[in-house]
């Protein structure tokens, strides 16, 4: 039986379309953080919340892990994760850096006064542009970096008890 060239081409095209659809529909289109993990953090320069001086990446110590938490007083999930941050602030091997995101200084200070201040350093990113260097698109987000300033983990959304355990595992692993 002779199969026409046109039939073979049509069959190949159908198979090709199915494969393309299969691949395209299985691609994970959600925001992913895998690009940032394992990379050294970019140079940054962010103002302190309390005064006009800048904090730079070179000011990060080289003997501790750093947990960069992006938060705001208007953000309800930030309130939810705050007790976890308070617990983490007791860890000697961890330096907590809070980046106050698109917030008013007065509101940020009131938030910390009411719920406690877990941070060793508090910075202020009033227009949100500095946080782009950390791949942030909302609050709260938290980035764990090691003493060599390489991103180990990134947490999107409020930290929970599992994240707390994960952070402790990482910082006491070595």
């Amino acid at each position: 039986m002779k199969v026409s060239f046109l039939k073979i081409i049509s069959f190949c095209l159908v198979i090709f379309t199915i494969i393309v659809f299969f691949i395209a529909l299985n691609i994970d289109k959600r925001y992913s953080t895998e690009n940032i993990i394992g990379k050294k953090i970019d140079n940054f320069k962010i103002k302190f919340l309390s005064h006009d001086q800048n904090f730079e990446n070179k000011d990060l110590s080289n003997d501790k892990y750093h947990l960069i938490n992006i938060w705001a007083s208007w953000c309800l999930p930030c309130k939810k994760e705050h007790p976890i941050l308070m617990k983490l602030s007791n860890e000697d091997n961890l330096n907590l850096i809070g980046i106050n995101f698109k917030d008013k200084k007065k509101n940020a200070n009131n938030f910390l006064k009411d719920l406690g201040n877990p941070y060793n350093v508090i910075l202020s990113d009033t227009d949100g542009t500095s946080s782009i260097s950390f791949g942030v698109f909302g609050v709260p987000e938290t980035i764990l970096i090691n003493e060599k300033h390489i991103v180990i983990k990134k947490f999107i959304g409020p930290l929970d008890t599992n994240d707390y355990k994960n952070i402790l595992n990482v910082i006491y692993e070595n």
Binding site: V20, N35, K39, K102, D127, G128, T129, I132, F134, F137
Partner: protein
């Protein structure tokens, strides 16, 4: 008569020239915004979106342009932070090669089939 024609031609050329320069003035920033996906929106570009995220990305892109970064460097910077998904026009690499090449393959095949069909009809 010739003077009138020349005058008309000059006016037409001027209008087109203004239009062309207006197009150039749209600017590299808008071009980049149109090629960036708003990650927190439903199918909108950064140019179309008024979300908080889009506004921040617009500021960052404009800052990068004023610091002397070119279009490619800006896409690379944002892809590094948010993944290649943030750029609408995918990069040409081995994963995306099928996406780039397939329209040409289909075009050549389609052309060949049409050519074959017409040749058969003529015979």
């Amino acid at each position: 008569m010739l003077f009138m024609k020349t005058k008309f031609l000059i006016i037409i050329l001027l209008i087109f020239n203004i239009n062309l320069s207006a197009n150039e003035n749209i600017g590299i920033d808008t071009k980049i915004f149109k090629n960036l996906r708003c990650l927190v929106c439903q199918g909108q570009t950064i140019a179309e979106s008024n979300s908080d995220f889009a506004q921040t990305i617009k500021i960052v892109v404009r800052d990068k342009i004023s610091q002397g970064s070119n279009e490619k460097e800006i896409y690379e910077f944002l892809s590094e932070k948010y993944g290649e998904w943030i750029v609408y026009k995918p990069k040409f690499n081995y994963i995306n090669s099928l996406l780039w090449i397939s329209p040409y393959i289909v075009l050549i095949l389609g052309g060949y089939l049409i050519f074959k069909y017409f040749r058969k009809r003529r015979q």
